[in-house]
């Protein structure tokens, strides 16, 4: 179905809504808009341009995300050409993840970056991943009695931890902050 928006502002909103349906295949519950990957949507008479920011440069899901984004935007763009590309400025940082995105990560069993006992994004320095005082709560039982196993994990964006309270290994989304 080809839909036409009255003006470019309406169309931009529609594009954003379409992009909210695209998910990172490595983090299924989290849309790319909630991950803060979508940097810019621009509509001209000829084209719909979408600029995306990679979370980690070596993420193997990037091509899939770009193709999924193109497919999602296509119907709304109608006769306009769709151009989805990755850009590297500004750098993606983990504080771009929205509160909804953090909730989605949490419910998926992945501790959001800069996790703290009471809500809100908390900036912690990278070294604090290892720091005894850093609070990485267990996504399963909520305990703060957790240990860092490794700053690396099954994907580039995850670290691995162990919960002393419920004795479960778990993963956290790595903070990526200047």
């Amino acid at each position: 179905m080809v839909r036409r928006a009255e003006d470019t502002t309406d169309l931009e909103l529609e594009i954003w809504r379409a992009l909210a349906q695209v998910h990172d295949p490595e983090i299924p519950p989290c849309s790319i808009t909630d991950l803060g990957i979508v940097e810019r949507v621009r509509v001209t008479d000829e084209a719909v341009e979408v600029d995306l920011l990679p979370t980690f440069a070596g993420c193997p899901a990037l091509d899939v995300i770009r193709k999924d984004a193109e497919a999602a935007v296509g119907p709304a763009a109608g006769s306009r050409e769709t151009r989805v590309r990755f850009v590297y400025s500004p750098p993606w940082t983990s504080d771009r993840i929205t509160p909804e995105g953090r909730d989605a990560l949490q419910s998926y069993g992945l501790t959001p970056p800069g996790n703290a006992p009471v809500g809100g994004a908390v900036r912690i320095p990278l070294g604090a991943l290892r720091d005894r005082d850093a609070i990485i709560t267990c996504p399963f039982c909520g305990s703060q009695q957790t240990e860092l196993e490794s700053a690396f994990g099954p994907t580039l964006c995850r670290s691995t931890h162990f919960c002393q309270a419920c004795r479960n290994p778990f993963e956290a989304f790595k903070p990526k902050l200047p």
């Binding site: 440069a57 070596g58 690396f152 790595k174």
Partner: protein, 291 residues
């Protein structure tokens, strides 16, 4: 003086080839590291480094009219401009950690300088790289500290690894052809000589803190380990040595030359040939294959 396209290419390929070749060596730990967390760590670091090389190849590609695959896999050995440190085999865990520590601390100094490069696209990419390199540096430092604290075998292996790698790590900062023009134009905001002084001073302090500075003492004099003046790479044990480390006013510094290095001019050690053959094998068998 405006740097030529060749100078820009050399700057970019030096950075990119270091990442690609060391990334390749790191990837050789996949499946063989002492435990699974380290398997994942070196595999992830390798993945990051190759991605960084890819970004840099895509920046230099338009100047050369070549794509990322042809730059990564389609060049002859003497066209790769990586520092020799990056191409050496992993040897043992002590050397692998020592090399990662030496390389990533040096890389951090170089990247920090490049954040103010007048080449906007390069400065932007460097910001992306630095956010990820932080984790590499963290990994290297944790292991550096752990091995330095002993027991004695681990500490000895780290010391041996540092001793093997320190000379070639100094040569990461080997001056580039047309460096003067690159610096005066702000593409490379600071001379390699200055970056080397910053890095070596800081490394000297860290080695003193764990009483491993005797490693630097070994490379103090321009003695028997001098490579030939012709610039040929000479094997001294596992690695050749850029000599001339001295302590001035309480700070370690380098007063020797770079004879025997030459990575930035396409000279390599015998170790590179086998790496190159394996790394480019698929691309040579199937020209035009895509990453």
């Amino acid at each position: 003086m405006t740097p030529s396209d060749d100078a820009r290419v050399t700057l970019l390929l030096s950075l990119a080839d270091d990442e690609l070749i060391l990334g390749h060596r790191h990837s050789e730990w996949t499946g063989w590291a002492p435990h699974i967390e380290e398997d994942l760590a070196f595999s992830s670091i390798a993945q990051d480094e190759m991605a960084h090389a890819r970004l840099l190849y895509n920046l230099v590609g338009p100047i050369l009219g070549r794509d990322e695959d042809s730059l990564a896999f389609g060049r002859q050995p003497e066209e790769y401009l990586n520092a020799l440190l990056c191409e050496r085999p992993n040897l043992d865990w002590g050397y692998s950690i020592a090399r990662q520590y030496l390389y990533d601390t040096a890389d951090a100094v170089r990247l920090e300088a490049l954040t103010s490069s007048t080449w906007k696209e390069l400065a932007d990419l460097v910001e992306v790289l630095r956010l990820e390199e932080t984790y590499h540096l963290d990994h290297a430092r944790v292991w550096f500290q752990r091995l330095a604290e002993g027991p004695v075998t681990g500490r000895q292996r780290l010391a041996d690894g540092l001793s093997t790698g320190i000379g070639e790590a100094v040569a990461i900062f080997e001056p580039l052809p047309e460096e003067e023009a690159l610096v005066s134009d702000g593409l490379l905001p600071r001379q390699n000589e200055d970056l080397l002084a910053d890095w070596l001073g800081a490394v000297g302090e860290e080695l003193e803190r764990v009483s491993l500075d005797f490693v630097l003492e070994r490379h103090r004099s321009v003695g028997e380990m001098v490579p030939t003046g012709s610039g040929e790479v000479e094997e001294v044990g596992q690695a050749f040595n850029v000599p001339g480390l001295v302590k001035r006013d309480g700070r370690w510094t380098h007063e020797g030359g770079f004879a025997g290095a030459g990575g930035r001019r396409g000279r390599h050690s015998p170790d590179f040939q086998a790496l190159w053959e394996e790394m480019t094998g698929l691309f040579r068998a199937h020209p035009g294959a895509r990453w």
